[in-house]
């Protein structure tokens, strides 16, 4: 099962490598990882997508907690949450395909962020499934380069 964990950790040198070292050392997998400062510059937020059965996720959560630099660990995928990923794709855009690329990007509410005589670079954000879909559709047209951010996620606010 896929889980999205949100980890608050102290913004200290080496803190991130404690987290990644834990995963490699204990054989847990990381599908994606995203880190940046929070409102408090002393604290970073790390969103981590991993896979495992209940027991493994419990171990991961507890092991993360045990790291001295970790402040809080939550499994946002336990409840309702929003997740976003951004991708930059440089795709072939020649006479025959330029219009097609624009149409596709429009459908996915993407934007063109760089143009050359033979390519467009486009930006698309969304949940992982949407990113995957846009890649699948652009692939036959000719993707030259692709850069993805990995997922960030936030639990939804309680309804009441």
């Amino acid at each position: 099962m896929k889980h999205t964990l949100s980890v608050l950790l102290q913004n200290k040198p080496g803190a991130l490598s404690r987290v990644t070292g834990l995963f490699s050392g204990r054989g847990f997998n990381i599908e994606s990882l995203c880190v940046a400062e929070t409102l408090d510059p002393k604290v970073s937020c790390l969103t981590l997508v991993t896979r495992g059965d209940e027991g493994i996720i419990e171990q991961i959560t507890k092991q993360l907690h045990k790291l001295i630099d970790v402040i809080k660990v939550s499994d946002v995928s336990e409840g309702e949450f929003v997740e976003r990923e951004m991708v930059l794709i440089r795709v072939k855009a020649e006479a025959g395909t330029r219009a097609e690329v624009l149409r596709v990007i429009d459908i996915f509410r993407g934007k063109v962020v760089d143009v050359s005589p033979t390519t467009y670079a486009v930006e698309v954000t969304g949940p992982e499934s949407k990113i995957k879909a846009v890649i699948d559709i652009l692939r036959p047209i000719g993707i030259k380069e692709i850069v993805r951010t990995g997922t960030i996620a936030m639990a939804r606010a309680p309804k009441k």
Partner: protein
């Protein structure tokens, strides 16, 4: 706030923490600190190899319960200490290791004797620090001691750039360490205690399975009280030996790979396993799906990650072992209907069964001719020391025979590398323990292979008058590996025959120590008596039956009931 150098601040912090002995080895990166130590009242013990410094600090910590301290220089000094740090980490031993580092301006430049020791030790320390701002030095040291000794203890490393140690800093007032991100939980949850005690009240075939946590939390009294109050038989892991008296009638001895037949059978047949400060290591459980298959499991441990890591637990209690056991004892005391006699009666058939197992396959060995059986040496050693000595061990057969045949009655009297299994641990650890308790009898039970890994520490022992005794069970083999080769690799003794072994008696003399040797069984007692009575560092070399095996043995990956017996 007074001003002083980093070196002075470090010494002052050590004094604040009540440290009076540290173990180390100097070098360019820590020379400022060594200069300061010369004028302080802290005793510095100069070892002969940095691994020895860390093991000695670890032995000191295990024997006393206080945090041990080691001081190493940068680069090779620090890397030499890594085995010691990993050893302490695996057994949850509180130590603080200071390492020198190149000046901050040179870090990352491949400077002379630079190594990223914080990076190297990240996975084998509880926490570690590079002090990058002199003003952080004192708070970091205070935090390090707090982290090392609280919660589940462990090693903490502090890397000290040379210019930080030389810098002038303000020394902040001492205040209690409080950390937002680290707050170990000691108190047991009353609801869980209640559940556990009710399960105990219902059980017919309960077993207490205790580990190093009982010793680390000084819970042996509470444990003994619970076992006796409720008449529950007790089995110990290697790390748990001494956490419950080995001579108590409820003791079944050690469990696991080289555990007693009765212990392993009892766990396999029990309906309630009460794990206290133990972590279901593979050397204990054998094949996981066959481990305690009929038992409900209660697990008391201060570290939440230990719970349900290998074996699914029914009633977890995340707490300090001592406090949890105390709460359980009170639960029974407060229970109006509690009747210790009724418990004893209820468990009588179970104890009978255990007795039967014990009689069927006791821990034993066969004496043949006049060769020296290693088990006999350990039995005699137990007799002559009244089970009161502080025993350290090396690793291998020597370690297992000690665990099986020496009856440990007190906590902190067996110092052994359980988790990492580090050959070369015993001698420096013995020196650490002896310096903590100069009047105690401290004995390293060694193998001929292991002792050579840190034998240079004989010089340290001599220099500081740490008159430890070394009992070498000399089989001229890397015996434990040979035993596996004998049993599982068609007796193909690849690289386990020690074709050249020094004359340990002469070697002892070369260090100014005393050397004694026994070649036959009837010489054993006299050599032990003389060795123990000699006021010097002593090596006693026992030429034991070379191909003796350690039994029972659960082959790796088998169920613990599938024991190979003598």
């Amino acid at each position: 706030m007074s001003k002083m150098t980093g070196a002075q601040a470090i010494v002052k912090c050590l004094q604040e923490e009540g440290v009076n002995t540290i173990f180390g080895f100097p070098g360019g990166a820590v020379i400022d600190l060594y200069d300061e130590l010369l004028d302080s009242d802290i005793k510095h013990v100069l070892v002969r190899h940095e691994q020895g410094a860390v093991h000695a600090a670890d032995g000191y910590a295990r024997a006393t319960g206080k945090t041990g301290v080691a001081l190493l220089t940068s680069g090779p000094g620090a890397t030499n200490g890594v085995t010691g740090i990993a050893t302490a980490y695996m057994d949850s031993i509180p130590i603080v290791v200071f390492t020198g580092q190149v000046p901050r301006a040179l870090i990352g430049n491949d400077a002379f004797q630079e190594v990223d020791i914080v990076g190297i030790t990240r996975p084998c320390t509880k926490h570690n620090y590079l002090v990058s701002d002199p003003d952080d030095l004192v708070p970091i040291i205070r935090e390090a001691f707090y982290i090392a000794s609280s919660g589940r203890p462990g090693p903490v490393l502090i890397d000290l750039p040379k210019d930080v140690v030389a810098a002038t800093i303000r020394f902040p007032e001492k205040k209690k360490v409080r950390m937002q991100t680290y707050q170990p939980n000691y108190e047991p949850h009353p609801g869980q205690v209640d559940k556990a005690c009710r399960a105990i009240a219902k059980a017919k075939r309960p077993v207490l399975y205790i580990g190093g946590g009982v010793i680390l939390s000084d819970a042996h009294k509470e444990l003994t009280e619970l076992a006796e109050k409720t008449t529950i038989p007790v089995t110990m892991t290697l790390m748990g030996l001494g956490g419950f008296p080995g001579t108590n009638p409820l003791s079944m001895g050690m469990l696991g790979m080289h555990g007693s037949y009765a212990s392993n059978m009892a766990v396999a047949k029990s309906d309630l396993l009460i794990a206290v400060g133990a972590r279901f290591d593979d050397r204990i459980t054998g094949r996981l799906d066959a481990f305690a298959p009929h038992a409900k499991i209660i697990h008391i441990d201060i570290d939440p990650t230990s719970i349900s890591k290998n074996v699914e637990v029914d009633i977890p209690i995340v707490a300090d072992c001592k406090l949890a056991l105390r709460a359980m004892n009170s639960w029974f005391d407060d229970w109006a209907e509690f009747d210790a006699r009724a418990f004893a009666d209820k468990h009588q058939p179970w104890l009978e069964q255990i007795k039967e197992w014990n009689e069927k396959h006791p821990l034993t060995y066969q004496q043949e001719g006049d060769v020296i059986k290693p088990q006999y040496v350990i039995e005699k050693l137990g007799e002559l020391t009244g089970g009161d000595a502080i025993i350290t061990t090396e690793v291998g057969q020597n370690q297992m025979w000690t665990a099986q045949f020496y009856k440990f009655n007190k906590p902190r009297h067996l110092l052994t590398s359980g988790g990492l299994g580090t050959m070369g641990y015993g001698l420096p650890a013995a020196i650490g323990a002896k310096l903590a308790f100069p009047d105690a009898m401290v004995i390293d039970v060694a193998g001929d292979g292991s002792i050579q890994m840190n034998i240079q520490e004989l010089a340290t022992a001599k220099q500081y008058g740490a008159n430890v005794k070394v009992v070498i069970l000399n089989n001229n083999y890397l015996g434990m590996v040979r035993q596996w080769q004998e049993l599982f690799y068609n007796r193909r003794y690849s690289a386990t025959v020690m074709e050249v072994t020094p004359d340990f008696v002469e070697l002892a003399k070369a260090y100014g120590a005393a050397g004694l040797r026994a070649k036959t069984r009837d010489e054993v007692e006299a050599v032990l008596k003389e060795g123990l009575a000699t006021d010097n560092v002593v090596i006693m070399d026992f030429a034991i039956s070379r191909e003796e095996g350690v039994f029972p043995m659960v082959p790796a990956g088998k169920a613990t009931t599938e024991m190979l017996l003598v």
